[in-house]
């Protein structure tokens, strides 16, 4: 049975071969250094593959702690998917509504989305107040004092 490191090495190796082949359309003079780097990545992925095959049990070696830690945290994929989706929506509306309004909507939205079960009118009001305060501090500090430009939309 192939362990996870070997699979990762295989994917990296295939990727580097594809990347190396894609360089054929570019002037070789402009890609000398890139070719060296790609060959180095390929060699390292082979090393990782050998390492993965030698350490048959996944979770051995120094990467063990990290691997097992990541395995343990996989349970939280739903909130991660929620955050990912909320950020995409945030980006989509940012250039239409402007930075501050979209940031406020995102702040309240993502907090409510991630903890909708415990939502009460009191909590909802607190979240709106915290989001408002946070955005107001950013606005004062960066837009008014430092005069940093932000994406502007229909609103501010």
């Amino acid at each position: 049975m192939i362990n996870r490191d070997t699979k990762v090495a295989l994917i990296v190796l295939v990727g580097t071969v594809a990347l190396y082949l894609s360089l054929s359309s570019i002037d070789p003079e402009a890609t000398t250094f890139i070719r060296v780097v790609i060959v180095a990545i390929g060699a390292l992925s082979l090393l990782l593959m050998v390492q993965g095959l030698l350490l048959k049990h996944r979770g051995e070696g120094r990467g063990a702690a990290q691997n097992s830690a990541s395995k343990k945290t996989v349970y939280g994929w739903k909130p991660v998917a929620c955050i990912f989706g909320a950020i995409l929506v945030y980006f989509f509306v940012m250039e239409r509504l402007g930075f501050y309004v979209s940031a406020f909507v995102y702040f309240v939205g993502v907090v409510s989305l991630l903890d909708w079960r415990g939502l009460t009118p009191r909590k909802g009001f607190a979240r709106i107040a915290i989001a408002f305060l946070f955005i107001a501090v950013i606005y004062l500090l960066f837009s008014v004092i430092l005069q940093v430009q932000t994406p502007r939309g229909l609103l501010i």
Partner: protein, 505 residues
């Protein structure tokens, strides 16, 4: 030293002092907040310094760096969660002290010892950085190429789970840095979309790679709550603790010296400094068994060590342009957006900015101690902040910071894409630091490789040009040594885990 004293008053200007104040207080709060790494805190701040004077921006970043390292001890002592890896050794005795009702004393020892160690490290930095920069200025293209490679090998070995994955991450970062137009011929490379025409800028990369994976990780841990510590500050403890702390000469001495030595080694970091110094102090103590049970010397040695490494950890960055730690890599981003190229030239072309920055780091040590002691009584409030709000706040700051540097929405897309990829990579054992270093050091490596190759082609040949000469051989040996040391560490860890497995019933 004379130049340092000449430019020191610059650090005391009103704007710089305000930046220092904000940086230290903000850094202490961010450092004490579990779940927010100091590197990410500094990365989020980099774009905002773009709108400041170069010296003031660097003062702010330096102050945040100094304060987050010390601030991380607050959560280590009060809730047994180190705010930064540098504070791991602090919790060994800090938390037992808090359990015994001596949290206030432990926090005071932490900040006083941090000041002692920090000042020692800064002194070494001030004395040794300019002479080293004068040596480094004699380096040519091949030496600078090997130094860039050395930086990647060091970080790859120490911050990733496995050396192979660390190096792949570092090389992947170098590959990302080649996106855009080639530096000599101006031919586009890997420009699959208009967004990538200008290449990947340093700020979106820094923020994306450090902040976005952290946002997703915080999302995974939404259910985690930290117990509110029982901590009631009393009057009259400070003076008593100060006298007790200053009597710990051995612990403070070992911590400061070990922290400084480890700090100079690129990539070693405060975590290693704190643990080695702690171990040495325990070995030299008459009662080694008392460590780990709430011994004040344990807190003093680890905190003096991790703060002593702050100044020296910047020596490779300021003299060679090679960041010695992930936070130094972020600081490098701060220098680059102001058009300052770290390395030997920095002291010659921009002595005002460089020495103001160094001077402010000295002041930051005092400010960190003062505000740390002052704010420690309210520290439990910081630890009650929900991950929910941190997810929202970090995302908003990441987007805002990325956009504000070039007023480009494309940068925001690049930042988010890199961050999402890094989060997925993290699930397979890859870490952000080598990738960031690859992106930062990639252009240095490519420029010097190409320059060297052109010179070599018309003179002695590539092999002789890159692989001979004392400096080249020394740096190559350092690269081999750093990889060898990492492999040794990996094999040792593998044997240990195998042994532990056998011993388990």
């Amino acid at each position: 030293m004379a130049e340092f004293l000449h430019y020191f008053p610059e650090a005391l200007s009103f704007a710089n002092l305000i930046a220092l104040l904000f940086g230290v207080i903000g850094g202490l709060i961010l450092g004490a907040t579990p779940g927010l790494s100091p590197t990410m805190a500094v990365a989020l701040l980099v774009p905002f310094t773009f709108h400041m004077d170069a010296a003031t921006g660097l003062v702010l970043l330096g102050a945040v760096y100094t304060a987050t390292v010390a601030g991380g001890a607050i959560s280590a002592i009060l809730i047994k969660i180190p705010g930064a890896p540098a504070n791991i050794a602090t919790l060994l005795d800090g938390y037992p002290m808090a359990e015994q009702g001596k949290a206030q004393s432990a926090l005071y020892i932490c900040f006083i010892s941090s000041l002692v160690g920090g000042l020692f490290g800064m002194l070494v930095m001030i004395l040794f950085t300019p002479p080293l920069a004068r040596i480094a200025i004699q380096f040519g293209a091949p030496e600078m190429f090997w130094i860039a490679i050395f930086g990647i090998t060091i970080m790859a070995g120490l911050s990733s789970g496995s050396i192979a994955k660390g190096l792949i991450g570092g090389m992947f970062g170098v590959l990302i840095s080649t996106i855009g137009y080639s530096p000599i011929l101006g031919i586009p490379r890997f420009v699959f979309h208009d967004v990538l025409t200008g290449g990947v800028a340093i700020v979106p990369a820094l923020i994306g790679l450090f902040a976005i994976p952290q946002v997703f990780s915080l999302g995974e841990k939404l259910g985690v709550t930290y117990a509110r510590p029982e901590y009631k500050p009393e009057r009259g403890v400070f003076l008593k603790t100060l006298i007790e702390n200053l009597k710990m000469v051995k612990a403070l001495g070992i911590g400061s010296v070990v922290g400084t030595i480890i700090g100079v080694i690129p990539g070693a970091g405060g975590q290693v400094a704190g643990l080695i110094a702690y171990d040495q102090t325990r070995k030299f103590d008459k009662d080694p068994e008392s460590y780990g049970k709430g011994k004040p010397e344990g807190v003093a040695v680890s905190e003096s060590a991790n703060n002593a490494m702050v100044g020296p950890s910047l020596i490779p960055l300021l003299t060679l342009g090679v960041p010695g730690s992930p936070t130094a890599a972020v600081l490098l981003g701060g220098l680059l957006i102001h058009g300052l190229f770290p390395g030997p030239d920095l002291f010659l072309k921009h002595p005002d900015v460089t020495y103001t920055f160094i001077g402010s780091l000295v002041l930051a040590q005092f400010a960190m101690c003062f505000f740390g002691i002052l704010l420690s009584r309210y520290s439990y409030m910081v630890m009650s902040v929900s991950n929910l709000y941190m997810v929202a706040a970090v995302t908003v700051l990441a987007v805002y910071g990325t956009y504000s540097v070039q007023n480009s929405f494309d940068d925001v897309i690049v930042m988010f894409s890199l961050g999402t990829l890094m989060y997925i990579g993290g699930k397979f054992g890859f870490s952000s630091a080598p990738v960031v270093l690859g992106i930062v050091l990639g252009p240095i490596a490519e420029d010097n490789f190409l320059k060297g190759k052109m010179i070599a082609d018309v003179s002695v040949g590539v092999w002789k040009y890159f692989f001979t000469g004392t400096a080249n051989i020394i740096i190559i040996l350092l690269c081999v040594g750093s990889i060898g040391y990492s492999i040794y560490g990996e094999v040792k860890m593998h044997r240990k885990s195998k042994k532990n497995k056998k011993e388990m019933p």
